[in-house]
């Protein structure tokens, strides 16, 4: 269950009360934990919500990070030194200390804005900032007294602080690019150049103009269709080849079985960049290069090995007795595969299909090298064609959104299967 932090007995409150802390001050004390947690969360939350405020309201906010760090420090110290108070009062005092110090040090302008500038946004930002800082400090330090701590309890407090920082930093790190992608696609180049921080939604302007342009002038409807054809086609071709192959490796006995199974994995390690030049040369001669058919030859060939590997592992786990019963009752081997093995393997087939679909949908290198004709572009190739200094940025971002949304919807909808597929095939990517 747990590798780091909270053991069963160390929920807020319990650990410390069971083991009274030795008196006096030392390096491993609640005060030290407060000295770390206060400034870190004060500064971190100020950066996050200050920037969020700037992005939402479009105001030129200048978050007072230093003031917020000191306010956080004051609040954390208040928290560890008021252990005797009742919980609601203590929370109020902590929040009050944070708010008071922040307002005094930032001269009444915590976000560096005049009070008249978007007062509602500022008020909401301030409330969230104060509330979350207080709550986070509470979760980290509520049961940590100011005095010296046993090493165990000090580390528990430290780990809570680290985890808190981790949740915030990771979420921002992952979300920020996607947020910028979506919001840029709603803006215009001119307004972004004027103020790159203004992502406020102006409902009076034509928000989806980039999207309309892409669908009317850049054929993105066709690109979506092409991508769908290529991806679904790749899934079916891959399964068509990989299912019998995987079944053979899992169940049938023949000379060279292990060698074959291992060579499948080796082929999986061959990088695409080594294959792309010869395939380019040969497909040019055969007239397959600038065609959907060419992609439908290359994509399955790169996905069959991994599908084969994933499926044969699953087939091996199925009870052989059922298949033997089928054989006894007069089914042929192919009949066994179709009537017994496949129905039992639907979850594995779903995982493999989704993984293969994702690879084909996202594939860039072959599509970029092979396709010249805009009428057969796949989405990644289409988005690549938007990367030009003559086209505004928001078109490129709208294209990126169009390419990302379908795969994300499928991912969120079928996450269970997708995660299993990723975990099985994820050594490559």
């Amino acid at each position: 269950m747990s590798t780091l932090a909270s053991s069963p007995s160390s929920g807020p409150g319990s650990a410390v009360k069971q083991r009274p802390a030795p008196g006096g001050f030392g390096l491993a004390s609640g005060t030290t934990a407060a000295l770390i947690a206060g400034p870190v969360f004060g500064a971190l939350f100020m950066i996050v919500f200050g920037v969020t405020l700037a992005l939402f309201s479009g105001e030129p906010a200048r978050p007072q990070v230093g003031a917020s760090a000191l306010a956080g420090l004051a609040a954390a110290l208040v928290l560890v030194f008021t252990g005797a108070m009742s919980a609601p009062l203590r929370r109020a005092v902590v929040a009050g200390a944070f708010f008071a110090v922040l307002m005094v040090l930032s001269l009444g302008a915590p976000f560096g804005l005049a009070l008249t500038a978007s007062p509602l946004w500022q008020l909401a930002g301030l409330a969230v900032l104060v509330g979350l800082t207080m709550q986070t400090l509470w979760l980290c330090l509520a049961d940590t007294p100011a005095g010296r701590l046993r090493r165990y309890d000090f580390e528990v407090a430290l780990i809570r602080i680290l985890k808190g920082v981790g949740y915030i930093v990771f979420t921002v790190f992952v979300v920020l690019p996607f947020y910028v992608m979506v919001m840029t696609s709603f803006k215009s180049q001119a307004s972004l150049l004027a103020n790159p921080l203004d992502f406020s939604i102006d409902l009076n302007s034509d928000l989806v103009s980039s999207y309309t342009t892409l669908f009317t002038e850049f054929n993105f409807g066709t690109y979506i269709l092409n991508s769908a054809i290529v991806s679904v086609g790749t899934v079916f071709l891959t399964l068509f080849f990989a299912v019998p192959g995987a079944y053979t490796i899992a169940r049938l006995r023949f000379r060279g079985r292990d060698a074959f199974a291992n060579s499948v994995l080796l082929i999986y390690m061959v990088p695409a960049i080594v294959l792309v030049l010869p395939l380019y040369a040969v497909f040019s001669q055969l007239g397959l290069r600038n065609s959907i058919v060419g992609l439908l030859i290359v994509y399955p060939a790169t996905t069959i090995p991994v599908a084969l590997y994933m499926l044969q592992g699953y087939f091996r786990g199925l009870p052989a007795e059922m298949e033997e019963a089928g054989l006894m009752d007069g089914l042929s081997r192919l009949g066994v595969i179709a009537k017994i093995t496949l129905p039992l393997s639907l979850p594995a087939l779903a995982s493999v299909s989704l993984y293969v679909f994702m690879i084909a949908w996202n594939e860039f290198l072959f599509a970029f090298m092979f396709l010249d004709d805009p009428s057969i572009f796949t989405l990644p190739r289409g988005v690549a064609s938007l990367n030009s200094s003559e086209l505004p940025r928001e078109l490129m971002m709208a294209g990126a959104v169009i390419a990302t949304v379908p795969i994300m919807v499928i991912f969120l909808w079928l996450e269970r299967f997708m995660v299993r597929g990723l975990a099985a095939g994820a050594v490559k990517g």
Binding site: L176, G256, P278, A281
Partner: protein
């Protein structure tokens, strides 16, 4: 190999033969497509790498013919005029064999065939020159005498298009080998720095992704509300198409209209915009008397790599953590081990095998990665890796032979890594 544990009688019985035949039939299609699209191109890549071929040579050499009539506007009977044919081999370095042309000669003239390379039969002029050297041209001046009055002879005689003949060699099929590609590639001043960049990128990209993945897995190891949501969120960077997220990072990091620079400037962290992707060196610092240039663009693509691929390590490490037996932690708890001690002495040794395997596999795949750097910087500003160099040589500079030679270097490096790694890979227990 027949599997002894499943114990069929030794010697090939009829049943066993039938099973082997079925196995062969089921595996043959997979084997064929993988051999055609992976194994064969791999061999062809070696072939191309020892041939001096340019991208333009992929089309076989051809002879082209050009016809010009030198005459007055009208020609009276008995007057002469000249028809000039030019036969050219457009290929810069391949000869055309059995070159020649034919042209239909309309009625109304007699040709004065002094040129012994040409002959006239059934109103068709046929000329042959045999072998035409690269870039060579042959001129044929044929004097025609009108037997009737001809209005606008140019139109009349140029209306019938001459047809060139000749068998051009395909540059890829000659037996003309040289190691010139390799000497050119290895002797180029950039080669060693490109190789070094590849290795640095692979090591730090993999290490970064692994560390982030480990930290993310630690964050989500304990059950809490919203864990499933965060797990889905943390997979976003990997599931989204590479082109979409790469272009988003370009937008985000843009020095003029990028959000990140705007945030940093607003906070006062930097005084002027940082060109994250376009700057080879941001600043120079010195360690122990060595001055080191901080590689800005390379660091950025490494951060991108870590951002995009940490979800994979995260999934694997989380799965391994969840399978660790919790008894161990309870025992450690009773013995008074602190959380950090538990992590260091219990969790980390349990995770060592999966971390090592992930590092090795991901190292190889990061080394092979092309899309990410190509899309982010195109290999500029000190970020050119071997894989980007393959593209640059083959398509950018049009020297497909040199590109294939770099691809061979990639492949050989990969083999070396695999040999070393699989020798020292710990076996997952």
């Amino acid at each position: 190999m027949t599997d002894a544990t499943q114990g069929p009688p030794r010697g090939a019985g009829a049943l066993e033969k039938r099973e082997a035949r079925l196995a062969f039939i089921l595996l043959a299609p997979t084997f064929a497509i993988v051999a055609l699209v992976v194994a064969l191109p791999l061999i062809m890549n070696f072939w191309i790498s020892v041939k001096p071929v340019m991208l333009a040579d992929l089309r076989p050499a051809e002879a082209t013919i050009n016809e010009r009539v030198r005459a007055d506007d009208t020609v009276a009977p008995g007057e002469t005029f000249e028809i000039v044919y030019t036969l050219r081999n457009t290929s810069p370095n391949l000869p055309v064999g059995r070159a020649g042309f034919t042209d239909a000669i309309p009625a109304g003239v007699t040709l004065d065939l002094t040129d012994d390379r040409c002959a006239l039969a059934d109103g068709t002029l046929t000329c042959a020159v045999g072998r035409l050297e690269p870039r060579a041209r042959e001129r044929f001046e044929i004097v025609a005498t009108a037997t009737e009055a001809i209005d606008d002879p140019e139109e009349r005689y140029e209306a019938t298009e001459p047809a060139a003949q000749g068998r051009g060699q395909n540059a890829l099929l000659t037996f003309n080998f040289s190691l010139e590609n390799f000497t050119r590639v290895v002797n180029s001043p950039e080669f060693w720095s490109v190789l070094w960049t590849s290795i640095v990128y692979a090591i730090f990209g993999t290490g970064g992704a692994l560390l982030l993945g480990l930290f993310a897995a630690l964050l989500l190891n304990n059950a809490f509300k919203g864990r499933a949501f965060l797990r889905g969120l943390f997979l976003f960077p990997y599931v989204a198409p590479v082109i979409a997220v790469a272009y988003t990072w370009i937008t985000l990091l843009d020095p003029n209209s990028g959000t990140l620079n705007a945030i940093l400037m607003q906070m006062g962290a930097v005084s002027e915009p940082v060109n994250f992707l376009g700057q080879r060196t941001a600043f120079t610092f010195s360690v122990f008397g060595f001055s080191i240039d901080f590689p800005m663009a390379l660091t950025t693509v490494i951060v991108f790599e870590a951002w995009r691929y940490f979800p994979l390590s995260f999934l694997f490490i989380l799965a391994r953590m969840q399978s660790i037996n919790t008894d161990m932690y309870e025992a450690a708890e009773i013995d008074g081990a602190t959380p950090f001690q538990q992590f260091w002495y219990l969790s980390l040794p349990q995770l060592a095998a999966i971390l090592a395997i992930l590092f090795l596999l991901r190292y190889i795949w990061t080394f092979n990665k092309f899309d990410d750097i190509f899309l982010l910087t195109g290999g500029a500003a000190g970020t050119r890796t071997l894989t980007v160099d393959v593209y640059e040589q083959a398509i950018g500079l049009g020297n497909i032979g040199a590109g294939a030679a770099v691809a061979v270097v990639v492949f050989v490096a990969l083999l070396l890594f695999s040999l070393v790694f699989f020798r020292f890979t710990p076996k997952e227990g």
